[in-house]
């Protein structure tokens, strides 16, 4: 089509390969100005609005809300001809270009070179046929936003089965899916609103047997008998939620963390001096409209202690059995948001003053809660701090975020009876916990770190000593 711009999902940075369309801010036929926000997308790390690359008329939206779009895939077509909202002809032609709306072209569907290279050529497409899939599977693909032209079928003759679609929308593409077919069968990634019955009832056992054709030269598939659909739960009895966005990322990351053998250590410290230091500084911060909690002190203490324990300020590449220690401390701060836990990263905390830390924490927390943090502000941490106290619990066991190798957690400050100079005294007590990847560090290493954190918090003056 002349005078039209096909706007593809841009590389939004940080190795992000795909994003979910959260909300279209424009509709087909609408005039848009350059830089006018078109769509809200959510990556594993943040939500962002994408602006129009040019002024024009929206001709076609290539994805529906909820769809996962890969970087480089078409997102929206904008006609720059400046014509009145187009309808039939344009819509028709545009719709026909939709990846899942028509016969696959022999040239292959438009896609980034990277994904093209990793996709096995579907056998049906190479024959000039549309992808072999039953109508129910095609409908499921449409609802999941999966382009059948890119799915490698595992059924007889390369037929695409409902099973083959599981996880295609949610993972790195068809190649990954066929390779991981066994891993992706939990069904959790299948959409609830898209015909759950159909998705779960679809016969998925067809791939079992492949019989040789009569001539032997041209194998033709035969179905196994045992492909009868099983009766699923009635959908109204349950709520099925698609695992998407932040939640999906957390699930993946936590599954990965399960491989880490954690060694964990607990302490309680007398927080009297810490609270005194905060009380002394608070009025000064308030002059600059900064509320001073104890969190900046915790950051400062961790940073100070990590400088003395580089083996815990590190990243571990288990596959290549390599540890990278970092001089700079990029400290992730676990932040609860309505979508799930997000960990914005305070960069180079070793270079920041307490005041800078306080204002940076404020800024990052706000970005995280409004889902506006950029990928740069969310990745590549070297250590994480989690504040159990913020939701009232005494303490918990923190989980390391791979590839990091350690994490510290802080509980709620409470008055307790402590022996002070041989006599019981009521003092504010701060519980501390830290966990380390036992493959990299032992309990003694972790103990050293925790001791230094404890020292810095019981005697905040130590923080003045940078060595």
């Amino acid at each position: 089509m002349n005078n039209s711009v096909e706007f593809k999902l841009p590389d939004v940075g940080e190795g992000i390969a795909e994003a979910q369309v959260i909300e279209w801010l424009v509709a087909v036929g609408e005039e848009v100005a350059e830089d006018q926000p078109l769509v809200v997308i959510e990556t594993d790390k943040s939500q962002l609005e994408l602006p129009a690359p040019a002024a024009g008329t929206v001709v076609a939206l290539r994805a529906s809300e909820g769809d996962i779009v890969k970087v480089g895939e078409d997102l929206v077509e904008i006609s720059t001809a400046g014509l009145a909202p187009k309808s039939s002809a344009t819509d028709g032609a545009a719709a026909a270009h939709r990846p899942n709306s028509d016969l696959p072209s022999v040239e292959g569907p438009a896609s980034s070179e990277a994904s093209e290279a990793t996709m096995p050529a579907p056998s049906a497409a190479t024959r000039g046929l549309r992808p072999l899939a039953s109508p129910s599977t095609r409908r499921l693909a449409l609802q999941l936003g999966v382009d059948l032209g890119r799915v490698q079928g595992t059924g007889p003759n390369g037929r695409i089965l409902a099973e083959d679609l599981r996880g295609t929308g949610a993972s790195g593409g068809a190649a990954a899916v066929s390779a991981n077919a066994g891993l992706e069968t939990t069904g959790a990634v299948l959409g609830a609103d898209v015909g759950l019955d159909q998705a779960l009832d679809a016969p998925v056992a067809e791939s079992g047997s492949v019989a040789a054709g009569p001539t032997g030269a041209n194998p033709v598939g035969a179905q196994t008998v045992d492909s009868r659909p099983t009766r699923s739960e009635r959908p109204q009895d349950t709520t099925v939620i698609e695992l998407r966005g932040v939640r999906r990322q957390i699930a993946r990351s936590m599954t990965e963390a399960l491989r880490i053998p954690h060694v964990t250590e607990f302490r309680e410290i007398d927080a009297t001096a810490l609270l005194e230091a905060r009380a002394a500084l608070r009025p000064r911060f308030e002059e600059a409209e900064l509320r001073l909690s104890i969190l900046p002190f915790l950051v400062k203490a961790c940073t100070w202690a990590l400088a003395r324990h580089p083996s815990l300020n590190a990243r571990f590449d288990a596959e290549n059995e390599r540890i990278t220690q970092h001089r700079a401390v990029h400290l992730g701060i676990a932040t609860a948001t309505k979508d799930g836990l997000i960990v914005p990263v305070l960069r180079n905390s070793e270079e920041l003053s307490l005041r800078e830390i306080a204002s940076e924490i404020d800024r990052l927390a706000r970005l995280a809660r409004t889902r506006r943090a950029s990928s740069e502000e969310l990745g590549n941490g070297t250590f994480t701090l989690t504040n159990f106290g913020s939701y009232g619990t005494w303490l918990g066991t923190p989980i390391i975020r791979p590839p990091e190798v350690a994490i510290a957690g802080f509980g709620r400050v409470e008055n307790k009876v402590l022996p002070v100079d041989g006599a019981p005294a009521v003092r504010p007590v701060l519980p501390i916990v830290a966990a380390a990847d036992h493959r990299i560090n032992d309990g003694a290493h972790l103990g050293g770190l925790v001791s230094d954190i404890a020292s810095a918090l019981t005697q905040p003056l130590l923080l003045l000593d940078s060595i």
Binding site: S64, A94, R98, S101, L132, G213, G221, A222
Partner: protein
């Protein structure tokens, strides 16, 4: 808008009560929409051309004509009829009206049960989201809709020199309402409607001349499926004039023109069956900013939208003007207008002709496949080799599967013979499912049925036919 035109709000407006429109209305309700259906004929329009003056009454007529005609062939099989069977067209019409009324009433009941509001009148768009419904002398009713599905269907094409008068010059609708069988009939147009109606009139005893411009009957169908029908019509005594058109009509004689010159033909009745025109000319499409193409069709993509809020389905969009296409599109249009991902993207839209013998086609022919770059072959099984066909005493025809050379995936079927119109559904399912020849061959088909011919054709394609000698089996 002038004062006094306060439009009624309509959530989903469906224009047309035919097999596209009424299905869209019911699907719309199922999707949670409040639906208003308008039809120029009101309740009488429910079911559309299909139920009232198309598929249904024509099948009734064909059934009757076939029955009457076949009685004569039963003497060898043990039934002798002393006097010629008497055809009472008036009684037939009464029965047919009752049958059609039952179907129309059934659609009405379905719509009532779904709480669809049905209004009578002619609808025209006045704005992108509004239109006026006019009925008789009442003031127009203005409606503002959130979504609209256009399913206005089509009507018979008329020829300027053969203007329909309802007595001598008839269209298909008139033929289905005949209370007497005309003596000498010219059927103009050898497409599927002309062939179906012409065959029925022939079997009811009329002298039929069929006039077709192309060099064969059923020119839009593959030549191999049309040829047996053309041969059979000639056997039955039809005067088939291909490569011929009507140049003039003087009220008693038609002037037929061929490349060899002109001939006069005296007839009592002329049936014009030269196609159908989409009902898009009086819809106020300008108000939508939409134009129909030169054939009157609205161009839509797989989302069937003509504008953001208006979808078009059925005979007014490209593709075959068939009831089942419209109904299938109705579901898609509703889903799209409800914001759900949906596409009209069938692997095949089957088509059937209730000719003698019946014809059914689905998917691709071998030639179509090859023109798309798909290496394909055909496997054919003769109807004469079917035990069931022998019992029916109808042995003309074949069942032919088109399959890819690689993988032997079924991509098309052409069927000629008894029950072809029913058999084609299985072939369509095979195509939609991506079945290959072995899938069809290994599916046990009940004996003795015509359905077995699909299994047998698959065996032919696989190289091990059972009920025909391999050298005679039609595989190429």
């Amino acid at each position: 808008m002038v004062v006094g035109e306060m439009p009624d709000g309509v959530d989903l407006l469906v224009v047309g009560g035919g097999p596209g429109g009424y299905v869209a209305a019911l699907a719309g309700v199922q999707a949670g929409r409040d639906v208003v259906l308008v039809d120029s004929l009101g309740d009488a329009g429910l079911g559309g051309v299909c139920v009232s003056v198309g598929c249904i009454p024509s099948k009734a007529l064909i059934e009757m004509a076939t029955m009457v005609h076949s009685l004569g062939g039963w003497s060898k099989r043990g039934i002798t009829i002393d006097s010629a069977p008497k055809v009472d067209m008036a009684a037939f019409q009464a029965w047919k009206s009752e049958m059609v009324g039952g179907l129309t009433g059934g659609v009405k009941q379905l719509l009532e049960a779904a709480e669809v509001t049905v209004r009578q009148g002619h609808f025209r768009f006045t704005r992108a989201d509004q239109g006026a419904l006019e009925y008789g002398n009442s003031p127009p009713m203005h409606m503002q809709f959130k979504s609209c599905i256009l399913a206005t269907g089509s009507r018979p094409t008329s020829l300027s020199h053969l203007r329909r008068d309802g007595t001598r010059i008839l269209d298909s609708t008139d033929v289905l309402a005949l209370t007497e069988v005309p003596r000498r009939v010219a059927v103009i147009g050898g497409g599927y409607i002309g062939v179906e109606l012409g065959t029925a009139l022939l079997k009811l005893g009329a002298d039929v001349v069929m006039v077709e411009m192309a060099d064969r009957l059923l020119p839009t169908l593959p030549v191999e499926v049309g040829a047996p029908v053309q041969r059979r019509l000639k056997q039955l005594g039809m005067d088939v004039r291909t490569g011929t058109k009507v140049a003039a009509d003087d009220g008693t004689h038609l002037t037929l023109a061929t490349i060899d010159g002109e001939k006069l033909l005296e007839v009592d009745c002329v049936v014009v069956a030269v196609g159908r025109v989409p009902n898009t000319d009086d819809l106020g499409l300008d108000a939508l900013g939409v134009k129909a193409d030169e054939r009157g069709l609205l161009e839509v993509g797989s989302d069937l939208l003509v504008t953001r809020r208006v979808a078009a389905i059925g005979d007014i969009t490209q593709g075959p003007a068939l009831a089942h296409k419209a109904s299938a599109e109705a579901h898609v249009a509703v889903a799209v207008l409800c914001g759900q991902p949906a596409a009209f993207d069938p692997a095949t839209i089957p088509a059937v002709v209730f000719s003698d013998p019946e014809i059914a086609v689905t998917g691709l022919t071998r030639e179509e496949a090859q023109s798309q770059g798909i290496g394909a072959s055909v496997a054919s099984f003769p109807v004469a080799a079917s035990g069931r066909a022998r019992t029916l005493n109808e042995t003309t025809g074949f069942t032919q599967l088109v399959y890819t050379d690689e993988g032997r995936v079924v991509i098309g079927a052409q069927l000629v013979g008894p029950h072809a119109s029913d058999l084609v559904a299985e072939a369509s399912l095979a195509i939609e499912m991506g079945a290959n020849l072995l899938d069809v061959a290994d599916t046990i088909h009940p004996h003795p049925t015509m359905g077995e011919t699909l299994m047998e054709a698959a065996h032919v394609g696989l190289g091990h036919p059972v009920h025909v000698p391999p050298q005679e089996a039609g595989s190429r």
